[in-house]
Point group: C2
Chain length 281, copies 2
């Protein structure tokens, strides 16, 4: 039996392996500066942080450790958002307060502390993460400030759940944190119910396309703008409808530099849920 | 910094990812019953055994644990030989009796015990490994007997090094054990000196081709016969000489069901050596 941390690491690996996954690195597509093997090293490096949170260590400090380990390769940010989304789920699965569910994961979110928020901010020092400028009243809490923002967090008494709630309108990962991991669990069901003869990683790539067709990717909004993100979602729907070949769409997104990374983050978390519920690889 | 066990796991992942690697699973080629993701799960599953040996636990018991974890996926045997070749190297790297070298690894080999041999035999119970019939005087020591062979091992007082020495003429992994990991360290140098702009995994695939061109793969001998293995080696040399395209050779080997697995095992061990010596991913 794989441990909870092993399932989390394997989920990261399966997510990046799944193909075709238009706009993102998969086992058949990579970029000169962000290669498939950077994700392999990132997932292996994240493992000690995943073990910490599975064993009940504080979530923020575990996240910082996971990201520092993830960042020990030359590709930069590989799966920051995936880890952020996995962590409360891993904590819930490790705690054995009941089976992993939207409720037990939400209980973890609600129990986060100001110290967890500080760990989250410190994690940004290990890696460059593409984020938008925060609203003006949040400037002191710009994540890019890293640990410099910790006094402001402490002054305002903001927990990690509070920080996520403040980003939920702009960030698809934060939205999952505050909305009971709704899309994550739905995607897990989609992967579980896929063709058992098809590789799990590729069933996860199917789920990626369904998620992208259903909702705009907030990373694409950050990376480009809302119109580009909406168009990406329309194109994903066209692929689902069979109006465009998914492999061709992958080439199209690469050419346009459209990388739906938040959608991939949700798939990585969904894979973890599915593995914890017994999905066989 | 990755730990020794993390480097060993990452080496397993990089080995399977490397492409093109004629005849074996890589990130662009897989079989219906042996898929890329089985190797991902196998490497993640092997990690606890790798941690054990890195921390100084007995080699045989660590190997058994690594193989049991590796086998927890639906593809069957993914990297048995790679782990067998990695284990003395991981033990040597973990022990810090000096830098990892042919000498420190050979000292580990020479220190193996009868109990280590028993652990090695027990590992065969977790997974089907393709092996030839042993010579007649070795029938009691057929690895396929698993723990049933342990009394014979104990009666004859055979250490794991003794067992490997008895297989060295037929098995390329055992030969590395008894010959100071000569090909492994040479392949590590080849990977280290490859084009830094090329993915490490693909530099490892280049090393695979060089190794195969230089010496017949003993797994292909077991799987088919010596003539087939010699022909595979000639074809690898032709690919190195530019007389056949490596991608075409990959299709050719798949069609002929030629899987140079022992050569891949050496590459996995070489990647571990290179990572331990500081190769960056």
């Amino acid at each position: 039996m794989r441990t909870t941390a092993q399932n989390a690491e394997l989920a990261l690996l399966l997510e990046v392996a799944g193909t075709p996954k238009p706009g993102n690195v998969d086992r058949r597509r990579e970029y000169d500066d962000l290669q498939f093997e950077h994700f392999l090293a990132g997932a292996v490096g994240a493992r000690p942080g995943l073990e910490m949170v599975a064993e009940g260590e504080p979530l923020g400090e575990s996240f910082r450790r996971a990201i520092e380990g993830m960042a020990e390769q030359r590709g930069g940010n590989t799966q920051f958002g995936a880890l952020l989304l996995q962590l409360p789920l891993v904590a819930a699965a490790g705690a054995e307060d009941g089976p992993l569910s939207p409720e037990t994961a939400t209980a973890v979110v609600e129990s986060t502390t100001v110290a967890d928020a500080a760990g989250f901010y410190r994690a940004f020092e290990a890696v460059d993460v593409a984020v938008d400028d925060p609203p003006e009243d949040m400037a002191a809490l710009d994540v890019r400030r890293g640990s410099d923002a910790v006094p402001a967090l402490e002054e305002r008494g903001l927990t990690l759940a509070d920080v996520m709630a403040r980003s939920a309108d702009r960030d698809g990962v934060a939205r999952e944190w505050v909305r009971g991991f709704e899309r994550t669990f739905a995607a897990a069901e989609s992967i579980e119910s896929g063709d058992p003869g098809r590789p799990v990683a590729d069933r996860a790539a199917d789920a990626f396309l369904e998620l992208l067709a259903a909702e705009v990717d907030t990373f694409v909004v950050t990376q480009h703008d809302r119109a580009t993100a909406e168009r990406a979602t329309e194109r994903a729907q066209a692929a689902l409808d069979g109006d465009v070949d998914t492999e061709a769409l992958a080439e199209e997104f690469v050419a346009e530099d459209v990388n739906p990374g938040t959608t991939a983050d949700i798939v990585a978390a969904a894979l973890f849920v599915a593995l914890e519920r017994g999905l066989e690889v």
